[in-house]
């Protein structure tokens, strides 16, 4: 039993445990925090697999940016614990079904050569190249430089949109307050 295996075991247990905890926690804030833990564990798994760049991206993008947004939303909605009720009829069986399908897809993708006899496009070399920051950077900053930049513009526009549609000008706030103070409603 190498040290690596021990670390992997710990991380695996942590990631599964945090995922389950996230699903079952009644408090949205707790749920988000568990998810952060989960992301961190998965990121460490990447390090273990020899892809430090992916790990860094995972931390930066998911644990950092996206989770902050999640927290933001949760705080805005009000962090009080909500009952576990179903929004869509048949949500749970459907969730289970899709979860299983996803798992099956992943397993099939990994074992594509054994299943079909045809080697998949993700050969060992490709995978190694993908994990390296230089390869990713080359794709991103050469071939797809322009789309990459334009996407950033798109994100900026989205942000402005959120501000425009949510921000209230002073006079608007006053206008809103006025009738209430006057007791018209």
């Amino acid at each position: 039993m190498s040290a690596q295996f021990v670390i992997f075991g710990l991380l695996a247990v942590t990631s599964v445990a945090t995922a389950l905890a996230m699903i079952f926690s009644r408090n949205a804030v707790h749920g988000v925090l568990f998810m952060v833990g989960n992301f961190a564990a998965v990121a460490l798994l990447y390090v273990l697999l020899g892809s430090p760049f992916l790990a860094a991206v995972q931390i930066l993008v998911y644990a950092g940016a996206i989770m902050v947004l999640f927290l933001f939303v949760v705080m805005l909605m009000g962090p009080e614990p909500a009952p576990l009720w179903e929004h869509i009829p048949g949500q749970r069986p459907l969730a289970l079904l899709f979860g299983l399908l996803l798992a099956a897809g992943l397993i099939a993708a990994v074992n594509v050569e054994e299943l079909t006899g045809v080697p998949g496009i993700m050969s060992q070399e490709v995978l190694e190249r993908l994990g390296q920051p230089t390869a990713l950077a080359q794709t991103l900053f050469e071939r797809y430089l322009l789309p990459f930049e334009v996407t950033s513009l798109l994100l900026l526009i989205g942000m402005i949109g959120a501000v425009v549609l949510a921000k209230r000008e002073k006079h608007e706030l006053q206008a809103e307050r006025a009738p209430r103070e006057g007791g018209a409603e």
């Binding site: 797809y144 334009v150 526009i157």
Partner: protein, 481 residues
């Protein structure tokens, strides 16, 4: 870093200029008081003007070249077609900015974001004009559209504006799905997203052998069809055009259509040229359906903005004739779009003049007897409406003539017959407004708000519509030179 700089940045120079202008507007906005923000409009005018100068200079440089300049690994191209379209976009943007400040001040919406979004949207069109890759096509359309979703909802306390924004956003996102899926299918069928490679691919040579390729074309046509409001993907148009703030509607009517058209031309001719026997008959039928649906739908509308929305659907149908004709057809499309843009901006400018803080001249009844109170506005509106109807000697007549002759020389006689019949029909609803203005007694004194900027935009539009009608040769020569 050398590689970063080694890219041919000139191909996106106008778009870059617009984006930076937009960013500066956003920043400066923070230091300005509400009543000072009108200066941002002037600054945006400089942005559009500057971008225009860049494009004209590029056009002068590119005009004589045999092979067009490309950039970003062939993703973007710098050719006359794209540059001419960009000139059109910037002109429309410029005029739309002229329409805006009065309206925004009146409704206390004077905010820098408005101008920035207008600039960003135009930058999206500018990218679209040179797109040589499905990915750039997609991104260009998104950069064009998303600011418009927001702008449509800019008159926020007004419920129908918010509704327009949401509807546009939801349906637009839906259409984006089609676009993206189509892109993915084409990639799956050919293994590339670059137009050049698409054109050379096996699938394009024998499209009927490849289901995935055909399905990809279909979904792309649906997605682009939504953007140019082609039937049966047009239903959002009346609702959104009606609800959006009038300056935004003016911009959308004039510019989005042009953006969609250039995207369609790029995709169909640069990307899917060899497979033209697949999309040609389909698009022909859709063009006929579109113009008929738009015109018939406009017949009974009582809301003028809504009527113009239906009319814009009809005009999309006419424009498709030019797209289908190829070659001379592109010239016709360009000229027609220019005329159409000027005319619509003018018409919406008049609509803007006829509203004050509260009232908006949306119902056709509010045009009753306008000639008595504001003969100038009534005259201008009549000129614009007659031009939309294609009445000689206005520019609209010339534009239609150009489009239809292009159609006939491309062998699309049946489509031209449908189009001429349609333009006969269209006179009916345009004339109705003129009748209201000149031939009915006013019920109440119409609202009126003077604005020098709007007046300036109207002057440009009116002079353009009249001059292009009487002496269009200059423009045509410039374009074909």
């Amino acid at each position: 870093m050398e590689r970063f700089l080694a890219q041919n940045w000139t191909v996106i120079q106008p778009a870059l200029f617009l984006v930076f202008t937009g960013l500066i507007v956003l920043l400066v906005d923070l230091w300005l008081k509400e009543e000072e923000r009108e200066w941002l409009a002037y600054f945006s005018l400089v942005g559009f003007g500057g971008a225009g100068v860049i494009v004209v200079r590029q056009w002068l440089a590119v005009r004589g070249l045999e092979t067009p300049i490309t950039g970003f690994g062939g993703m973007m191209v710098l050719d006359t077609l794209g540059l001419l379209f960009q000139m059109l976009f910037f002109l429309v943007g410029f005029l739309a900015v002229l329409l805006a400040p009065g309206y925004l001040t009146r409704r206390r919406l004077q905010r820098g974001e408005f101008y920035a979004l207008l600039l960003f949207s135009t930058a999206g069109m500018s990218l679209l004009a040179g797109a040589q890759d499905l990915i750039m096509l997609f991104l260009g359309i998104e950069v064009l559209s998303i600011p418009l979703y927001i702008l449509a909802g800019f008159a926020r306390p007004r419920l129908d504006s918010e509704e327009a924004s949401l509807k546009y956003f939801l349906l637009g996102a839906f259409a984006t799905g089609f676009l993206l899926y189509g892109t993915a299918l084409l990639y799956g069928a050919t293994g590339t997203t670059a137009f050049e490679a698409l054109r050379a691919s096996e699938a394009a040579a024998a499209p009927r052998e490849n289901v995935m390729f055909m399905a990809g074309i279909a979904l792309l046509l649906v997605g682009l069809g939504f953007k140019i409001s082609m039937a049966p993907f047009h239903q959002w148009t009346p609702d959104v055009y009606e609800g959006a703030p009038t300056p935004v509607t003016a911009f959308m009517v004039a510019a989005t259509k042009a953006g969609g058209m250039v995207a369609l031309i790029r995709l169909l001719y640069w990307g899917l040229g060899p497979a033209d026997d697949v999309w040609r008959p389909l698009l022909g039928v859709l063009a006929a359906v579109t113009m008929t649906w738009g015109n018939v739908g406009a017949l009974l509308q009582r809301n003028v903005k809504r009527m113009l929305a239906y009319s814009s659907i009809a005009h999309a149908g006419y424009l498709l004739i030019g797209v289908l004709s190829g070659g001379v057809g592109f010239v016709a499309v360009l000229v027609y779009l220019l005329i159409y843009a000027l005319t619509n901006l003018g018409a919406f400018g008049v609509i803007l003049l006829l509203e004050d803080g509260e009232r908006e001249a949306l119902d056709i009844e509010s045009y009753r007897g306008l000639a008595r109170f504001h003969p100038g506005a009534a005259l201008l509106m009549s000129v614009f409406l007659l031009s939309l109807a294609g009445f000689p000697p206005t520019a609209g007549f010339f534009g239609k003539f150009l489009l239809f002759t292009a159609g006939i020389s491309a062998g699309l006689t049946w489509l031209v017959v449908v189009a001429v019949l349609n333009s006969v029909l269209s006179v009916f609803y345009y004339a109705r407004v003129i009748v209201k203005m000149y031939m009915q007694e006013p019920v109440e004194t119409p609202a009126f708000s003077r604005s020098w900027l709007v007046a300036g935009a109207l002057a440009v539009a009116a002079v353009g519509v009249v001059l292009l009608g009487l002496y269009p040769t200059v423009v045509v020569r410039l374009i074909t030179a």
